[in-house]
């Protein structure tokens, strides 16, 4: 595709670190002085990520065309050396990383172009570009990390940058609280990640040989899976311990990818400017958790490589989150918050995919979701921009006439996320639900129900925003080209990327009644696993049919409620004052009371406990020690002051007694 020779393609693979370095350099240049010029800030930031996209596409081309013949490229330099081990940092490029590099750089580039239109009048324009560059660089560093320690470092950098970006309008109290909430919740998850990583290191430290410690891949059996096998064979590790470690590390993805019960920060993160909402929800931050589970997948397996309890935990957490977030999204009125809850839900699908063994399905949904969710968020930003800050969908309606580009792109995103046939979300979601049905039928049915709910809340959002009559008081207008062109670009992959993970040749045998267990490979799965990878599944037309029917049911209910308004269940629920309908509506509207629960625990349990502990430690222990030392010193001084009496005979007596005492001690001590 790119007109590059084999040697040039190899060069790009072997210099993948430049993709990470470029946005970091751009961020520092802006901070160090370039921020004085809006044009320079924008140019250097967008230039860096555009270079990253070009470089990423070259790497992808090298790996697909086998111009770079090895399955991966890895380069490490020592970072911390002790007598028994060396921690290293480096760059790892393989097929999974290559795809993620494209996702991160392409979405970030389009978001940064959009930012120019969205933030052009904001005084913090340059600062925002600096943060965007650092955020993108941190995520890219995470993607190419060679080991868990390095990934943890970039993981934290992503968290710090998201703190700055969510709280970008820090003078707003809600934004300041939201960034603090995101930071604190992520620290809880990160603590688990760190403790899990250190525990894993503790039990495997003797088995890394010449490979990078805690490395994902390595020579001569020093990759993650082989080290686990060796540690288990030597008795240093067993399935229970590995499961415990996996659950600890999984706390990190639970927080970063907003999974129950550490999901509460994500909807509040909408306080940041919309471009950053798009970036966080599509390609960076939330994707990091899914990527970590995929990258360090052997940790979530048993020691012998079979599926174990940890994978069930991953699938269960994902299923709970997907269902819970979908129920909440159905009753929200803030356009960005509905999308935020949909992100929680879709991330749940990805974890279900990874947890039930649909490994490529999980990554494929991450890949598809990145494009259509970025587009949906940018569309919502265009709507908010066109309505001068209005986010309540009850004050919208009829915007398809005044915002035709945002309308058509939002519709494409809605169809895709709802799993409408022939759109990208259909293929990946179907793969996940199909695998869940086989291995965990309950989770499978729950995901199917959630798919119907997804179609309902997304079309509710679409109908309330773009159809009917305009209910607000602003003067809606389409946004500038800088904001609409990125939407049009994202619309293309939002429709088409699904076909990369689907082989149409599988359809004919499936329609003829062939079993879906075995089929022909598709481009996505073959790229992730390589030609000698696992078996490829065929099309499951029964599951496709059920999935389409459930999605259509969600669509029709939304259609009858919010477009034709012939069905009034929504009013029945919203206006009910008692009974089950009232309970269900309040649960949904109040986000399952999770915030109330957490704030209740913090306000009524943690803070009073902390205050009591603080009072005890500060007043009793700290002040007690300080005052006690002073009192003792004063008392000793009071006694000793009488020894200082100014009489020569008394001093001579003391000296004599001391000399006699030393002589006596010397006498009674045994000779050496």
């Amino acid at each position: 595709m790119l007109p590059l020779s084999v040697e040039q393609l190899k060069w790009f693979v072997e210099h993948a670190g430049l993709i990470v370095a470029a946005p970091f350099l751009a961020g520092f240049l802006i901070i160090m002085g370039m921020r004085a010029s809006k044009f320079l800030s924008m140019a250097v930031s967008i230039g860096a990520v555009a270079y990253g996209l070009f470089h990423s596409l070259a790497i992808f081309q090298a790996l697909v065309s086998h111009a770079f013949p090895d399955p991966y490229f890895q380069q490490n330099i020592p970072w911390f050396t002790s007598s028994s081990f060396t921690l290293s940092v480096g760059v790892l490029v393989d097929n999974t990383a290559a795809l993620m590099l494209i996702v991160v750089t392409s979405v970030s580039l389009l978001v940064q172009i959009y930012t120019h239109g969205y933030m052009r009048d904001d005084a913090g324009y340059s600062r925002f570009y600096a943060y965007l560059s650092l955020f993108t660089g941190s995520m890219l560093g995470l993607v190419v990390s060679t080991n868990l320690f390095q990934m943890y470092g970039f993981w934290e950098l992503v968290g710090v940058c998201s703190y700055f970006l969510i709280g970008f309008w820090w003078h707003k109290e809600s934004a300041a609280k939201a960034c603090m909430k995101a930071f604190v919740v992520n620290r809880i998850g990160d603590f688990g990640f760190l403790i899990g990583t250190l525990t894993f290191f503790l039990y495997t430290k003797d088995f890394w040989g010449a490979g990078p410690v805690l490395g994902f891949v390595g020579p001569n059996g020093t990759d993650l899976a082989s080290v686990i096998h060796k540690a288990a064979a030597a008795g240093a590790l067993n399935d229970s311990l590995l499961c415990f470690i996996a659950c600890l590390i999984f706390m990190g993805p639970m927080a970063k990818s907003a999974q129950f019960p550490l999901h509460v920060w994500l909807p509040d993160a909408m306080e940041g400017p919309t471009p950053i909402s798009a970036l966080i929800h599509a390609a960076t931050m939330v994707a990091a958790g899914v990527y970590l589970v995929a990258r360090a997948y052997p940790i979530w397996l048993n020691c012998d490589g079979s599926a174990g309890t940890a994978l069930t935990v991953v699938a269960s957490i994902g299923a709970i989150t997907a269902f819970m977030a979908a129920t909440i999204a159905m009753s929200q009125y803030d356009i960005k918050r509905v999308l935020a809850w949909s992100t929680c839900s879709q991330l749940g699908y990805m974890f279900v995919g990874l947890g039930v063994g649909a490994f490529t399905g999980g990554i494929f949904h991450l890949f598809n979701h990145a494009f259509f969710k970025a587009m949906l968020f940018l569309c919502s930003g265009a709507v908010i921009h066109g309505l001068h800050g209005q986010q309540d969908i009850r004050e919208m309606g009829g915007l398809k006439k005044s915002m035709p580009i945002a309308h058509i792109c939002f519709l494409i995103g809605t169809l895709s996320i709802s799993g409408f046939p022939l759109f990208s979300g259909f293929f990946s979601k179907d793969e996940i639900i199909g695998a869940a049905m086989v291995h965990h039928p309950f989770i499978g049915w729950l995901m199917l129900l959630t798919a119907g709910m997804t179609a309902f809340y997304m079309f509710r959002l679409y109908f309330m925003t773009f159809t009917g009559e305009y209910r607000g008081s602003a003067h809606p207008h389409e946004s500038s080209a800088a904001m609409t062109w990125p939407l049009l670009v994202l619309a293309v992959p939002s429709i088409l990327t699904g076909y990369l993970g689907f082989n149409i040749a599988n359809l004919q045998p499936a329609l003829a009644g062939a079993s879906p267990e075995h089929g022909l490979p598709n481009h996505f799965a073959a790229f992730i696993f390589g030609p000698n990878g696992p078996h490829f599944e065929g099309a499951n037309v029964t599951m496709m049919g059920i999935s389409i029917a459930v999605g259509l049911a969600g669509f029709f209910i939304a259609y009858l409620m919010y477009l034709t308004r012939t069905l009034h269940f929504n009013k029945t629920f919203a206006e009910s004052k008692e009974g089950m309908a009232n309970l269900i509506y309040n649960m949904s509207f109040n986000k399952w009371y999770m915030d109330d629960l957490y704030f209740g625990i913090v306000d009524r349990v943690l803070l009073p406990t902390y205050k009591n502990v603080w009072t005890f430690v500060d007043m009793v222990i700290v002040e007690g020690v300080v005052n006690g030392v002073g009192l003792i010193t004063m008392s000793i001084g009071e006694v000793l002051k009488y020894l200082q009496n100014g009489r020569g005979q008394y001093y001579a007596l003391v000296i004599f007694a001391a000399v006699a005492g030393i002589a006596w001690i010397s006498y009674i001590l045994p000779p050496h």
Binding site: L2, F54, R120, Y125, G357, L520, P534
Partner: protein, 87 residues
Amino acid sequence: MSSDSHADDQGHGHDSHDAHASSEGIPESSLQDLILKGVTIVAAVALIGSGFWWKMQPLPEGGHEAGHEQSHEPGQSAGQVEHAPAH
């Protein structure tokens, strides 16, 4: 209702760091917009073109049973074992 404060904050610096930056808005028909349109087109062609190019690449002959994927570092003959989903 929470609101995106974009509209409220236009043109007002709230950070001393921002005070160094120009607080003037950028007109919609500026040179920057023109350059960005070009960048958008090039990025779109590269991204979408790569997708189509990938789809045109031949697929492997067929799949194998779930198991292992052999992989190795450049210059290494021995392989590392990467586990496929074990279900």
